[in-house]
């Protein structure tokens, strides 16, 4: 289908098909695709660009999954560089931020699939964080981790989620989706949960009233058709549950992992992916330009290619930096606002659920 025909469908409010998505990925002119995505972005959000004050905690990098795409994990607790954070140590990171006067509103927790930790470690971690900051939102454990807990501890997915929810879990991050294709998962992460299982975890979480994000790791071995299929599958689940808050495209970082002979996706590919996602995922409210992964300049430019969220202050990101990310470990709120404003957009501080933490009167927040 031509770009003009796709533009016509968008104007009429007709959802795009998977084939439309593929046509957008294949269209020779990035700027034309970006123009369309920007129109949709501005219809939905105007110039508003969301960010938050968040803290990343990685409880462990010990992981039985041995995914070829990963630079973060260690196979065994005895391997060089392997770590497991004590609960006090993890909570200490939050205490330190709060003590420094930082009004963190979200803790983001993801880690390796460690088969030697009790389930009580994870519930204990949530309880301890909530004890320090009862009002903080905890976005924790990718669907891959939830599915691993289900297998390891012999509980249903629902039971795992309910128990974590009772301990303080508020929402799920979107990681581990990679590409929702059996062929690709077999090639890059054969020991992770299957595509249908990843979707089932999110479906269950949404049924329990939890919101979550969704991602796509692109640039490994997948085809453009598989990227379009991935987005279509996310949209199908969203149509069923309405539980996704944001989609986050993640370019593959090739350093220090078993797929290191693959070139990293270019910035143009990253912008195109943001744009196609904005156009295809018409039922997902937010598209995030995750600065840690994209790089600051690409993420800033992405605010004109469909993205309306820049992610947050982060602090101490490990997963992408061990894969060669050249971005800073953290950004101060003022720096985020400056970058967003330099793109001609209006920075708006949000909480995990896109409630506004900063006023937008006169569109002059932060």
């Amino acid at each position: 289908m031509s770009l003009a025909a796709i533009a016509s469908k968008i104007r009429e409010g007709t959802p795009l098909s998977q084939a439309d998505g593929l046509a957008l990925f294949q269209h020779p002119n990035l700027v034309e695709v970006g123009t369309l995505a920007n129109q949709v972005r501005e219809q939905l959000h105007g110039d508003r660009t969301y960010w938050n004050r968040n803290l990343h905690i990685n409880p462990t990098n010990v992981c039985v999954s041995a995914c070829k795409l990963c630079s973060f994990s260690r196979r065994s607790a005895h391997d060089a560089g392997a770590f497991v954070l004590g609960i006090d140590e993890a909570v200490g990171k939050l205490r330190a931020r709060l003590a420094a006067g930082d009004r963190v509103t979200e803790v983001h927790i993801v880690g390796g699939l460690h088969d030697g930790l009790p389930f009580a470690y994870f519930t204990g971690l949530l309880l301890a964080l909530k004890a320090v900051a009862p009002g903080i939102a905890i976005k924790a454990f990718s669907a891959v981790e939830i599915f691993f807990f289900h297998r390891l501890y012999g509980m249903s997915i629902e039971e795992v989620l309910r128990r974590l929810q009772s301990a303080g879990l508020d929402s799920l991050p979107g990681g581990g989706a990679e590409i929702l294709s059996p062929r690709v998962r077999q090639a890059i992460c054969p020991n992770k949960c299957a595509a249908d299982e990843w979707l089932e975890v999110h479906r269950t979480a949404h049924r329990l009233g939890m919101k979550s994000n969704c991602t796509m790791l692109f640039g490994t071995v997948e085809t453009l058709a598989e990227r379009a299929e991935h987005l279509r599958r996310l949209r199908d689940l969203q149509a069923e549950t309405g539980g996704f808050l944001a989609f986050i495209p993640l370019p593959f970082h090739p350093e220090n992992n078993a797929l290191g002979d693959k070139p990293a996706p270019t910035a143009a590919e990253s912008l195109r992916t943001l744009a196609v996602a904005r156009l295809l995922l018409d039922n997902v409210p937010h598209i995030k330009a995750y600065w840690v992964s994209l790089g600051l300049a690409t993420a800033q430019t992405g605010l004109w290619f469909g993205a309306d969220d820049f992610d947050g202050t982060v602090s101490e990101e490990k997963i992408y930096h061990q894969a060669g990310a050249q971005t800073p470990q953290a950004l101060a709120p003022g720096e985020i606002a400056r970058i967003i404003r330099a793109a001609g957009r209006v920075p708006v501080e949000r909480d995990t659920f896109y409630g506004l933490a900063s006023p937008v009167a006169g569109e002059a927040a932060v």
């Binding site: 700027v31 350093e255 143009a268 600051l296």
Partner: protein, 173 residues
């Protein structure tokens, strides 16, 4: 001479209209070819064109007007930290002002990601350090701008150009 004002946040410019025009002009000048110049320092004859985020349209217009007698590859060069949107806007402005000149990305200054984006906004050439096999971009080398010929070619191909090494004679600004 048309020119695109830098995006300042106060007066939002449309990057897409000039972007489309700049890309079309680059292809009109050089067809499908995109160029890569291996060099550790800027080659003789290349002319830097400074730009500063937040400067006025008049300042940019004057700077480009002053170049109107130059017949050399032009290298937009940020004076301070390069902003993403402002950089691609300035590349588009340079292409629109000088439709037939080589508009060159200095990868050492802009990095690979932002540098490649400029190829969608009027640039037709990259200049940067080439190595046969680069080291992992980790630790002290995290910010390394070196790249292999294959990586340079990939940056050009991913932007819709057929990679060519070296610059052919420009047609003059």
């Amino acid at each position: 001479m048309k020119i695109l004002v830098g995006i300042t946040g106060a007066a939002k410019a449309d990057i897409f209209g000039p972007g489309r025009e700049a890309l079309a002009l680059a292809h009109a000048a050089f067809g499908e070819r995109g160029f890569f110049v291996p060099a550790r320092a800027l080659p003789a004859g290349f002319v830097r064109v400074p730009y500063t985020f937040g400067e006025s349209e008049e300042a940019r217009r004057a700077r480009l007007a002053a170049l109107s007698v130059v017949n050399h590859p032009l290298v937009p060069t940020p004076v301070d930290e390069a902003q993403g949107l402002d950089t691609i806007a300035f590349f588009a402005a340079c292409r629109i002002a000088f439709p037939c000149a080589h508009i060159v990305v200095d990868l050492e200054l802009l990095g690979h990601k932002l540098g490649q984006l400029c190829l969608s906004f009027g640039a037709d050439a990259l200049v940067g350090s080439v190595v046969d096999q680069r080291a992992l971009r980790l630790g002290e080398r995290a910010g390394s701008k070196e790249l292999t010929r294959d990586e340079a070619a990939q940056l050009l191909r991913a932007s819709g150009f057929e990679p060519c090494e070296g610059l052919p004679e420009g047609k003059g600004p």
